[in-house]
Symmetry: C2
Subunit: 224 residues, 2 copies
DNA sequence: CAGTAGACTAAACGCGCGTTCAGCATGGTG
DNA sequence: CACCATGCTGAACGCGCGTTTAGTCTACTG
C-alpha cells in the first residue's frame, strides 16, 4: 500500500479498490466509489482495468504479490512463514489493515486465487513445523499435512473473524493490551493442549482402527 | 429446514432465502431468485417480509433459533455445546448444509446478531471447558475466557473456511474418510499441543511480566 | 348472498449499477 | 507544424435491482 499521494492513476485506483473492497466487500463497493476515492472518473477505472471484475482480479494479484514479497523479505531474515508475517503485520498497526482486510475477504470467497493462496500458507506452515520437529521444538503429528492444515486454519481464523476476536479481547489486536491478553492463552494451548490426558485421543485411535505405528508423538500424558 | 413441499408461502420463501443467501451470499441473491425458488412472485416476498433486508433479518433469527433449539435437544442429552452440535450437523450429511452455509456467512459479516451468536458460542465453550477442568479432563488456562475464545475461533474456522478444509482433506467433511483424516491430528493437537517444550511459553510469560501466580497449568513439559 | 380481509400477481417505477462513447487536452514523434 | 497515441472526462445507455401499485382470486363472516 503506497502512502504517496502522487502516484500514477493506475496505482491510485488499485489502492483505493483494495481499501474499499477490503473494508466493505466487493459487492457493496461501486466503481463510482473507487473512482471518487482515487480522484478520477469512473470511466478511467474501466479504461485502465477493463471491468470491475478485472480490477478485482488485479487487486487479488497485488495482495498475493505483497504477501510473497514481504514474506521473502522477512522470512529470509527470521526464518518464519507467511503466518508469522501476518502476525507481524497485525502488530505493525493500522498501516497494513487494508491489506489484511482484503486478505480475510479473499480467504472466505472461493476461487482459484483464494485456493492457491491458502494452500501456499499450508505449505509454509508444513515446512515450518517440519523444521520445528527436526530441531526438537515441535511435536510430530501422525499426519503432518493435516496438522499443518489445522494450524493454518486456526491462524487464519484470527484474520477472518477479527471483529469477533477484538470484541472479546476488549480492544484491538493492534494495541499492546489486546495482543498481550491473547498471547499467553494461545501459547498455553499450543504447549499443553486442551485435554489433560490422552483418553479422547486413545478412544479415537481405537475407533478409527489406527495402527499403533501411526506415529504417536505423545509426551507422556496419562491414559486416563 | 423443512423438506415438505407444501408449506405456507411464508415458510417456503424463508427456506429458499436461507438456501440462496447461504450458498451465494446476500448481495448476489436477488429477490426475484428467491421468489422463483419458492414458486411465488417477487411482490409476495416483499408483501410478507417488508423488504429484502427484513427478510435477511428473519433468516438470521430463524437460523439462530435453529441453533438454540437443536442445541437444547442434543445438549441436554449429551452434555455438549453448540460447537458439538455443529460437528454433529456437519457429520449428518447434506441435510444441514444450507443452515451451516448460512451460519458461516453470518459469522463473517458484522452486525449485532452475528456478534450475539458468536459470543454465545464462546459462553458455551467456556462452560464446557469449565466442566472439563472440574472433572479433571481439561487444562485450566491462565485466562479461561480467552481460552474459550480461541477454541471457539478455531472451531468456527472449519465452518467459515470449509472449502479450504475440504479441498486439503481431499474429500468432504461429510464422508467418513475426510472426517476421519481430520480427527486424529486435531485430537493430537488438543492433547499434546504443538510445542514439545514450554520454552516459548516461558519466554512469553517473562516478556509479559506475568506473575508466577498467573495460573500455570503445565502438565510437566520441560523448560527447554 | 353481499361484504370483506387476506393471499397473491402482473406490470411498472425509479434508481444506481457497470459500462460505452464521443471528445478534449497533452506531449512525444515524423 | 501536423499527427496521433495516450490519459482522461462528462454524459449517456441499458439493465437489473428492490419496491410500489392496482387489481384479481379465494374463502370466511354476517
Amino acid at each position: 500500500m503506497s502512502s504517496v499521494a502522487d502516484l500514477t492513476a493506475i496505482a491510485r485506483i488499485r489502492d483505493a479498490a483494495v481499501r474499499l473492497f477490503g473494508s466493505q466487500g466487493v459487492e457493496r463497493t461501486s466503481v463510482r466509489q473507487i473512482a471518487d476515492a482515487a480522484g478520477v472518473s469512473p470511466a478511467l477505472v474501466i479504461h485502465h482495468y477493463g471491468s470491475k471484475d478485472a480490477l478485482r482480479g488485479a487487486c487479488d494479484d497485488w495482495v498475493v504479490e505483497w504477501v510473497a514479497r514481504e514474506n521473502t523479505e522477512y522470512a529470509s531474515a527470521r526464518g518464519a512463514s507467511a503466518i508469522a508475517l501476518i502476525q507481524q503485520a497485525v502488530a505493525d498497526g493500522e498501516r497494513y489493515r487494508p491489506l489484511l482486510d482484503y486478505l480475510a475477504r479473499m480467504l472466505t470467497a472461493d476461487g482459484d486465487r483464494s485456493a492457491a493462496l491458502f494452500d501456499r500458507f499450508v505449505d509454509e506452515t508444513e515446512a515450518m513445523i517440519a523444521a520445528g520437529v527436526a530441531d526438537g521444538t515441535m511435536n510430530r503429528s501422525s499426519d503432518p499435512r493435516i496438522q499443518a492444515l489445522i494450524i493454518t486454519l486456526n491462524g487464519m481464523s484470527t484474520l477472518v473473524m477479527r471483529a469477533h476476536l477484538e470484541r472479546n479481547l476488549g480492544g484491538g489486536l493492534l494495541d499492546a493490551a489486546g495482543l498481550a491478553r491473547l498471547t499467553l492463552p494461545m501459547l498455553e494451548l499450543y504447549t499443553d493442549g486442551l485435554y489433560s490426558n490422552s483418553q479422547m485421543l486413545e478412544v479415537a485411535r481405537a475407533a478409527l482402527g489406527a495402527s499403533a505405528a501411526g506415529g504417536a508423538t505423545t509426551t507422556g500424558k496419562a491414559n486416563a
